[in-house]
Amino acid sequence: MADVWRHAWLLARKDLLVEFRSRTAILSALVFTVLVLMVFNFGRDPTAVAAVDLAPSILWVTFTFAAMLALNRAFQLELENQALDGLLLAPVSRSSIYLGKLMANLVFVATVEAVGLPLFALFFNVPILHVLGPLLGVIALATVGFVAVGTLFSAMTARTRFAELLLPVLLLPFMIPPLIWAVLATGALLAGRPLSEAAGWLRLLAAFDIVFVTLAFVLFPATVNE
């Protein structure tokens, strides 16, 4: 059991080293996030709608698209040099591969969110420091949900022809429930409502995470077994 985690961590480290050494992917994702925030700003009529009303939606749509972008490249690395076969031949269990990918993707998306959140607060004048703790909790839980399913699906779509189009089509229905709870929780927090209200949404997010991480963990071997 400890081996599974150790291997997973080694795999994650390998992925992250490759990603952050070349830096192209992470920088592109960061720039993309900034641009999406800009699109939101110019995509609304400033006289009609106050930013604070739209704030939770803007944040979460941005994070949804950023996560999608990150997940698209999740298995591209392996595709390029037939590295997936090498990975499968290595003496690590399939589950380790899933956990490793999951962790690497989480770090990647978290990095993008770590930059995106302060920029969001800046661009739309949204005070977040007073609820930063709970807000980070919401972001963490929702992100795990997105990435747990996304890692599984990107393993399947990576080898298909229209992967960049197919992954969003398959994944977005699964991102919508966490998105809804995250938006409701963020809205409650930013509006200064008591924590107990947001707690309900957090519980649902946690339940979703537990169910889908487990499910993806169990199903992942079916996607790579020959």
Binding site: L152, T157, R159, P173, P177, L215, T223, N225
Partner: protein, 222 residues
Amino acid sequence: MRLLKTGRWITGVGLALLAAVYVRALAFTPVERFQGPAQKIFYIHVPAAWSAMLAMGLVGIAGILFLLLKDPRFDRFGEASAEVGTAFSMVMLTTGPIWAKPIWGTWWTWDARLTLTLFLFLLFLGYLLLRGAVTDPGLRARYSAVLGICGLVLLPFIHLSVYFFRTLHPQPIVLKPSAPSLPGPMLVTLLFSFLVFTVLYVGFVTQRYALSLLREQAEPHA
């Protein structure tokens, strides 16, 4: 091929029974007092929803069974059920708004039921698109099973999210249909329609399954 003939026969019976339901619902079932004739759409929309949900459930279960038992028959069944489910979802997605317009005053609303309808349709489409994108049959079967299972598990979470989203963002409602406590004749019509839609589901899936089998026999794989 016998399976195909059985399927066609069942479908034929189903369509004949559908005509019977139509006649009964339109001519021999009382008109509901508050909603008027449009309420009768209910007798088509709700059983179609049942068939679509049944289709989705069976796609998921077929996926589980395929991964456990590796029997390609489950994969063929999943494929058939997904396609048939798409057809019933289209019935839901069209009759739903046509019902909503006179009853709620708007073609679309993000209420729990209509939204779930849309989700189901998109999940079915995703399943079929994934199948279309994978050429290797073994891989396609495994991927479909995975997606089908995930889709099934997602359904309760869809309800748990959309329901809360909806109740906190109420839409203006013109005529709120009360939860029907259906009087006798209406209940009979509804139950009859459930039966007919189930028969149609079985007939369609049988034919579609037979089609997969015929295709495989025409092009045997090494």
